[in-house]
């Protein structure tokens, strides 16, 4: 999903990018203006004449607009339940099955047919109600919601109106760092059984969100919850999770939201009465929720600021993914009168406390609890969000830990190589052949020094594809390598002796002697002053250890501090890439130095993140927003992204971010003095000319 996002931005670099309005940067402000003139045909006339405004002036205007208004956002989410049969008949329900193949007199609404409630639907509703911390109604009922539509065979939906099955809950979640971080609590007004046929639960939030990010995070959390509970697949693309978003803004300090205040004639306990809001539909991903809301806020704010707030009316707008804007779908002239009344064909839904308790006791660990637990283990928020995002990944991680694996290492392997493999092979974590037990074994083998990290990676890819055990593969591999080495006539030892060698410095010394004695010519040249040959010997020495699948414990090159000058630009990305793939060794430390300047970086940042070698791992397991780079892009964000990419590519290398203010000085001087301060061993700077000619400095 994240990668789609990048592409969209690549293709339409000059479309309205709503966050731009709220960004402190001014790079894309001209785009904002341009797009606002194409919002809707009807509004075109009211647009002010095109005036060339200096960029800094525009920036001020937009900043002022955003400062002057605050938004409230509420979400109605529809979750399609993964029951085997439909809600009120015994027809199977399968997404994508041929039309009219899974129907019966009941779901067709034939004369004389009556609905019978699928008890699984109630069970799922109770589960979700409990998971969202709601109060359950032990007595609830069904109501008919009436309107004519061709997809509505009976002319009414069987729904819950005034007594929903659950009310008054909340969702707790942590925003990822790149979105400002922090803890949020969003209220849930009600969970109700909604619509006949394919069973649907509706979750109505309090209007607690203020930004697109918050709304998208809320929706993502709901997706996690329904997946954890196993009540829905939660796929937005299939429409199994649908979010309708209500947005209203008001000038800061004003008590009323919206402009045209309409008190609903029917007191639906949704929003505080009197709030007019714009409803946005057709939101097929979390990123579109985010962008649609931010677009809508800026649209409404602009209209307000231009004195055209009467243009903001209670209506339903459609998010157009291609054009990245909302357009009018239908204007609501007052609220529709659905003529609700109690469904006479179905008895009341009566829950016993024992039933509720039994479901409560069988609830799985929910995302929030899981995140808290991971956090307590000492994992970073980034790791926590990644691992807890997918229940299956979390379970895999938990199983790996219970097999005794180191927490941080297990997280790194799963988020790094395993995630990348799953992404490449388009597999889920349940499909891979590597068991959590073997992953734990692998981690233990590396940690104990039995094998090197590099060999570990090789073994991992075989385990992922073919399965097997770490011990088995080590044995197998050792034999193969030993044979190969013997053919090269450089390695005379048997495997058993090798294991002995690793831990014994005397034997390693012997091996070095052997390398030297086997290459007398080079030794002579070296002694004759050709000092460059030192590298040759080291290479020979490394070569056999590497080939033997061993890690030379005793001879560790000294740890270095490698500094990469980080800018949101392609040359900087290339530099980091070079550092990660060529320069950095396991003991090294990576420092990302950012000299804060005001150069334009927005478009180039995405170039960096599109690079498959680094970014693929980051994208692999994040079907939602937690790693999307275009979410409220700030400098903090891009540095975090670079850091994250580094951690994925080289999990063992500590990464540090340093920021420095040039304070008027020349950039090169600043970098050099900083590197001296930090005791940097190696500085890598990207050259601006092209990606391929990035050089070492």
């Amino acid at each position: 999903m994240a990668s789609t996002l990048f592409r969209t931005i690549q293709i339409h670099p000059f479309l309205l990018y709503p966050t731009a309005l709220f960004s402190r940067r001014n790079g894309v402000l001209c785009c904002t203006m341009k797009s606002s003139q194409t919002q809707t045909a009807t509004q075109e006339k009211q647009q002010p004449p095109k005036v060339k405004v200096p960029q800094h002036a525009l920036k001020k205007t937009v900043d002022k607009i955003t400062r002057d208004y605050e938004a409230i956002i509420g979400i109605e989410t529809h979750v399609q339940l993964s029951t085997l049969t439909k809600a009120f008949c015994s027809c199977p329900y399968n997404y994508g099955s041929q039309p009219n193949t899974s129907i019966c007199p009941i779901c067709m609404g034939l004369p004389g047919a009556l609905p019978v409630l699928n008890s699984k639907v109630i069970e799922f509703a109770v589960k979700l109600g409990l998971a969202l911390n709601c109060k359950l109604s032990l007595n609830s009922k069904f109501d008919r919601k009436q309107y004519f539509y061709p997809d509505l065979p009976k002319g009414y939906q069987i729904s819950q109106f005034d007594i929903p099955i659950a009310t008054g809950g909340y969702v707790d979640l942590d925003l990822p760092l790149e979105f400002g971080g922090g803890h949020r609590k969003f209220g849930i007004i009600r969970v109700d059984l909604n619509r006949a046929g394919v069973p649907l639960l509706e979750i109505v939030s309090e209007p607690d969100m203020r930004t697109g990010i918050e709304a998208a995070e809320y929706a993502a959390e709901l997706q996690r919850v329904v997946r954890y509970l196993g009540i829905s697949n939660g796929n937005m693309q299939e429409g199994s999770l649908r979010c309708d978003v209500n947005v209203s803004i008001r000038p800061v300090g004003q008590s009323e939201f919206g402009t045209k205040i309409q008190v609903p004639p029917f007191p639906v306990d949704r929003w505080e009465s009197g709030i007019a809001y714009v409803e946005i539909k057709n939101l097929n991903s979390f990123s579109s929720i985010n962008r649609a809301i931010d677009f809508e806020i800026s649209r409404q704010a602009l209209l307000h600021s231009q004195g055209q707030s009467d243009q903001i009316v209670q209506e339903t707008r459609l998010w157009e993914e291609g054009a990245q804007k909302t357009v009018t779908m239908r204007k609501k002239e007052g609220l529709s009168d659905y003529r609700y009344f109690p469904e006479p064909d179905l008895p009341e839904v009566i829950l016993t406390q024992e039933y509720v308790d039994s479901i409560s006791n069988s609830l799985p660990e929910l995302p929030e609890a899981k995140r808290r637990r991971y956090e307590k283990m000492g994992l970073s928020m980034q790791d926590v969000l990644f691992l807890a995002n997918d229940m299956n990944v979390a379970e895999y991680f938990d199983a790996t830990l219970s097999s005794g694996a180191d927490i941080k290492l297990a997280a790194n392997w799963i988020m790094g190589d395993i995630a990348a493999y799953m992404k490449n092979e388009k597999l889920s974590i349940n499909d891979i052949k590597l068991t959590p037990q073997e992953l734990a074994e692998l981690i233990a083998s590396i940690k104990s020094g039995t094998i090197s990290g590099k060999i570990g990676k090789e073994i991992l890819s075989e385990l992922l594809a073919k399965g097997g055990t770490v011990k088995g593969l080590i044995e197998e591999k050792d034999l193969i390598q030993a044979t190969r080495v013997r053919n090269y006539r450089v390695y005379p030892y048997e495997r058993t002796e090798l294991n002995f060698l690793i831990a014994d410095p005397v034997e390693i010394g012997k091996m070095i002697d052997k390398v030297i004695s086997e290459n007398p010519k080079q030794l002579e040249q070296y002694r004759g002053g050709k000092t460059k040959l030192q590298g040759f010997f080291a290479g020979q020495w490394w070569f056999r250890f590497d080939f033997a699948g061993l890690r030379p414990l005793m001879v560790t090159p000294p740890a270095r501090k490698v500094m990469v000058v980080a800018d949101p630009a392609p040359h900087s990305a290339a530099a980091l890439q070079y550092a990660l793939s060529h320069a950095l060794l396991e003991q090294d430390e990576l420092i990302l130095l950012h000299v804060e300047n005001t150069s334009s970086w927005k478009n180039t940042l995405t170039t960096f993140l599109k690079r498959p070698t680094i970014a693929s791992a980051a994208n692999a397991m994040t079907p939602n927003i937690s790693s999307g780079p275009d979410w409220g892009s700030t400098d903090v964000n891009f540095l975090d992204q670079m850091k994250y990419a580094s951690e994925i590519a080289q999990p063992k290398i500590p990464v540090r971010i340093e920021k420095i203010d040039p304070d008027g000085k020349d950039k090169a001087t600043v970098i050099l003095s900083k590197s001296k301060d930090l005791g940097i061993d190696l500085i890598i700077i990207g050259q601006k000319r092209s990606l391929s000619s990035a050089i070492l400095g």
């Binding site: 007199p105 004369p111 009556l114 065979p153 009414y156 009168d337 009344f341 064909d345």
Partner: protein
Amino acid sequence: MKNTSWVLSFPCFEKMLSTIQPPRYLSRFPLRGRTKSRPFHILSSAQPVTKTSFAADQSQILSIRDSLLNRHLSAVELTHSYLDRLKQTEPHINCFLHVSDPDKVLKQAQDIDDKIKRNEEVGPLAGVLVAIKDNICTADMPSTGGSYILEGYRPPFDATAVKRLKDLGAIVVGKTNLDEFGMGSTTEASAFKVTANPWDLSRVPGGSSGGSAASVSARQCVVSLGSDTGGSVRQPASFCGVVGLKPTYGRVSRFGLMAYASSLDVIGCFGSSVADTGILLHAISGHDSLDATSSKREVPDFTSQFTSASSLKSRPLEGLRVGLIRETVDAGVDSGVKSAIEGAATHLEQLGCVLKEVSLPSFSLGLPAYYILASSESSSNLSRYDGVRYGNQASSDELNALYEESRAKGFGSEVKMRILMGTYALSAGYYDAYYKRAQQVSFLLQ
């Protein structure tokens, strides 16, 4: 609003207690065989129905069974006699919207005869010809609900009640006329024809189950099914001089009954004797997984409650206390009806009952509440007839026009009026004043 199982309409009560004769007008169409009505009485003592002395006396159903099993009569002969009578009388009375193919009916009768010949078990309703009100779905014949909007519509399933009758060996002889979707009390609101009262062809048979009542009255069938939302079984039964039984709500599955007012609708029974209606009710009662509102209570064996008149004591109902509701004999009640009720009361007293006048102050609330609830629910239930999936469809390019045209042409004026009333009563701002209050009354009356 919801009556208990054994409440019968009062005028009918009187008939029930005396001999039922076929309408005089129809006496020129004699029935062949032994199927003629006989006097009967209700008794409290239980007697096995297999004792044929009682059966032949008081129940056509039991007498048919007796005749078939004793080989006095074949099912084919019996069926012929009814079909002949139906053929002769139908042009005058117009009970049926659809008459089953005689060959198919005779084939079913033949199957029963074959089974009997082979000494195989036949169902308790084997050979009993049943007429079904046309708002009750039948899989192999049209079911229109008396509405033009469903002209020619053939459901893909049998209503649960019909299925149970068929499973017990009954033969469906046809679909009877009714006021469109059950909305009316004369059977004149049918989209297709007007049914006459067999006792006097110039009069109406009542309604809405007028066809079902008249067909039993005219001996075109043995028993029939009707439906009752606000008197649609009880009233035509009294008009046609047959026994009509409106069961308690939930006693009989509504699955397959075209909904008029779902919280009031029940499928009811017509027969020429209390015994037959009782047997019929027993056959169709009981919980149905396809109707969430059907009762899970055990079905008592009504037939065991009947006994032969010859074993009666002189005052068989000695000590039974009967309430006479004052509001039902108050001002405004027709003097003929009033005297019939009084006659029935006197008769009960003769049988040993103690009669006491009681007052139900909420009685007068029933009708207004009924009108609100029934029309509200019907406005919703009839939404499905939009011409999109089945039934008559108007040709139109535009969706709303398609709905409007199909419904404008498809529904009769009485139906339209009730949809309008119901839509109004459920509308925002009126809901509390109408629907909600009516519902409160309904709870009160229950």
